[in-house]
């Protein structure tokens, strides 16, 4: 990409990100009552969306070719075990990522 293309890329990314954050405040300005259904969406949607993001991160993993998703599965198990044990997000993320990097660089 050229300099200007890269700059446009980052401007688009920043503007669209800001749009997602400003939208609810534009739709429901101070003093206006938020509809009940919208409140329901606000309560429930964060859960399926995070689930979707986990799957999104793993979308390019191929189970049929080497290493058959083995580093990803291994690292997620490590994260789940450490996280249910220590409940320290930073520790789980750090150890899980390092574990993945070691597996990937050794076997892939």
């Amino acid at each position: 990409m050229t300099f200007w293309q890269t700059l446009i890329f980052f401007v688009i990314m920043s503007m669209v990100t800001a749009f997602t954050r400003f939208l609810p405040f534009l739709l429901f300005p101070d003093g206006k009552k938020t509809p009940e259904f919208v409140k329901y969406l606000g309560r429930v949607l964060p859960y399926p969306i995070i689930g979707m993001l986990v799957v999104y991160c793993l979308k390019d993993v191929s189970l049929s070719s080497w290493p058959h998703g083995f580093p990803e599965a291994g690292a997620i198990i490590v994260i789940a075990v450490i996280h249910s044990w220590k409940r320290n997000a930073l520790l789980s993320i750090g150890v899980g990522t390092l574990f993945y990097m070691v597996l990937l660089q050794m076997f892939a």
Binding site: F9, F10, R21, T34, V38, K59, H83, A89, S92, Q105
Partner: protein, 232 residues
Amino acid sequence: MFGRALKAAWPLTIPVLTGYLVLGAAYGVLMDSIGYGLGWTFLASLTTYAGSMQFVAVSLLAAGFNPVNTAVMTLMVNARHIFYGLSMLGRFEGMGRAKAYLIFGLTDETFSVLSAHEAPEGIDKRSFVLAVTLLDHFYWVSGGVIGSLLGGALEISTQGLEFVLTALFTVIFLDQWRIVANRLPALMGIFASLMALWVFGPSNFIIPTLLIILGSVAAGRKLLDRKAGELL
């Protein structure tokens, strides 16, 4: 006055400080590894200020210039912010001139600190919310700068470092899984994504997934809203 708010807010932001320094630095290193130096990392972390999207953008950058795809991807990855904003409508009411900045800086982490803590006794409510937002933003940009500077000096292979993003979402998922009374919405999200991934393939499954999720949420309110938001 604002100094006191900063002093009261910063101990509450320590988990974000550590997380943002590590993830922000990982972002700086990753950007450096595909040839984007300090200036670009600083710009992205300052103006986009959305961790997961910035990581996704690394792969988009590597794939070449495609403005429409960039906009759609950003919208999809950050769509969840809409729902965090919905929960902060009341809290940000009457915030005055700072309000636009508070909305701009409403990341997952800032949202979680703000939902977990009210302003301590004797601290102005507005200054407190602004202090948390400013501190978190500062940590994220600092992490990026540190990573970018380290990146050039690192001799070790960074292959696989992008897994921090997977790890971050997995941890958020596990935290939600542990505390909510109703796990059906989380399971539905995984199931919908896997189904759409299987049918539409890895490059086109996000929009179908969001549609399935919205449809299920609209149709299955009885099941999904049962004990919604209630913690175990």
